[in-house]
């Protein structure tokens, strides 16, 4: 082989490596927002079609698998519905009483504002499991830092990057996600951290506080990232931090972050 051949190859490879290293170091995310915007306008319909196909396929698969247990499932759900009806009636009564008391002492209601409902159109394709892409953006009133919930009040994450018609939502399983919480049963305070898409960890709970398996964890009014009272999950395992100073617990979220189809954005 000619030495010039290898020389040319080395120069070519070196240029690509240098170009990519420079781009990664520079990371011109703000500069690229308009380009991303245009690309997403073209990509969004295809992403929605694929997402719809995925939902249809998983629904068909799920129906085929669960056809044998439908009768048992139906009986369980009927009894659950009766139990929940009585619980709803009880809670509605308490809600009225709470509203009345708040009015009397002049404290504003703490219901967060609903901004939009969005369809999930994509997931983190590197599979680290830390973000979702939704089909609502700045034209729908979405802004960076808004809270994203699923269903009624289950916390999903926070809007991190906003384009005109799309936004990227950082999940609470993101390792950089840290926020204050407390347990409903014992009011034990702590901090929730993401664990690389593998779960959520309740950390920094004082040894004097009491936490048990099955306790419900909600966002606390002490933190400023999320509105208070949003459901984070239930405690599945309790342990101690490596230094032995605090209690730690693994939290199970009631939702599967990769099976969410729609989310609500609140302020």
């Amino acid at each position: 082989m000619q030495p010039s051949f290898w020389k040319r190859k080395i120069i070519e490879a070196g240029s690509v490596v240098l170009l990519c290293a420079f781009l990664l170091w520079w990371n011109p995310s703000r500069l690229l927002t308009p380009v991303r915007d245009i690309l997403w306008v073209a990509v969004e319909p295809i992403a929605i079609v694929f997402q719809y196909l995925r939902v249809v396929l998983s629904d068909v698969g799920h129906s085929v698998v669960s056809i044998g247990s439908l009768k048992q499932e139906n009986a369980r759900l009927t009894s659950e519905a009766i139990r929940l009806q009585s619980r709803v009636a009880e809670l509605e009564d308490m809600q009225k009483e709470n509203d009345q008391l708040r009015q009397e002492i002049g404290v504003a209601l703490r219901h967060p504002d609903h901004v939009a409902t969005a369809l999930v159109v994509g997931y983190d394709s590197r599979g680290v499991g830390d973000w979702l892409i939704i089909n609502k953006g700045s034209r729908d009133g979405i802004a960076s830092g808004m809270t994203v919930v699923s269903g009624e009040n289950v916390l999903v994450g926070m809007v991190e990057e906003v384009l005109t018609s799309t936004s990227r939502v950082s999940l609470i399983t993101h390792p950089k996600s840290v926020f204050n919480v407390h347990t409903v049963e014992t009011q034990a305070r702590g901090v929730v951290r993401g664990k690389f898409g593998l779960g959520i960890l309740l950390d920094s709970v004082l040894q004097t506080e009491s936490i048990r398996k099955g306790d419900t964890v909600v966002t606390s009014e002490w933190g400023e990232q999320y509105p208070p009272g949003l459901l984070v999950g239930t405690i599945s395992e309790v342990g101690t931090s490596p230094d032995g100073l605090f209690q730690q617990a693994t939290i199970l979220s009631p939702i599967d972050f990769f099976a969410i189809r729609t989310v609500s954005i609140i302020r």
Binding site: C20, L23, L24, S29, L39, V120, S125, R126, F196
Partner: protein, 180 residues
């Protein structure tokens, strides 16, 4: 026409990547459709011919998937070069040698993913992520990923072969000649 068709194929591959990763539950084990497309392209057209499309696929993937720009470009260019380099040396000897460069590239891409995780999350967080990943039995899952990627590769190769044959036929027969 060829330009739009190829951009369309890349876009569909990126969208598939995006949806499939959700289907696989957000684990690190999800098929790499765009990567396999890029590998198939470099084997079909050769590295020099396909480099432009490989880089474009990288740019589009980074843009659409909210990745830092340069991340996919680097991964795709290296995978395309490696597959093209190996194919030139092994393909001609025996048809079964197709598996050698292919598995080489897949294993290489897995290593790249690990490197990317460390680069993206940092040595401490990325390292602990990989440790958790290994402890969760994902090594076996990686084997499955290689098989899924193998199927995707052959599918991409067949589709692209058809497209490229069609485009060359279109260029020769249908497209009007330019007279100087």
């Amino acid at each position: 026409m060829g330009v739009f068709l190829r951009i369309g194929i890349i876009t569909i591959a990126i969208c598939l990547d995006m949806v499939l990763s959700g289907y696989f539950g957000g684990s690190l084990i999800s098929p790499n459709v765009t990567l396999m497309l890029v590998v198939a392209w470099s084997l079909l057209l050769g590295f020099t011919e396909s480099i432009g499309w490989v880089m474009l696929a990288g740019v589009l993937a980074d843009m659409v998937l909210f990745r830092p720009l340069g991340f996919s470009i680097f991964m795709f260019v290296v995978a395309a070069y490696a597959s093209s380099f190996l194919s030139k040396r092994f393909f001609i000897r025996h048809p079964l040698w197709i598996l050698v460069p292919f598995f080489g590239v897949v294993i290489f891409s897995v290593c790249m993913e690990i490197l990317a995780v460390v680069l993206f999350w940092g040595v401490k967080e990325g390292g602990s992520l990989i440790m958790t990943w290994i402890m969760h039995g994902s090594v076996v899952m990686q084997g499955l990923l290689i098989l899924v990627n193998a199927a995707l590769f052959f599918l991409s190769y067949r589709v692209l072969d058809g497209v490229e044959t069609f485009l060359s036929y279109y260029k020769r027969r249908v497209q009007p000649k330019k007279y100087v």
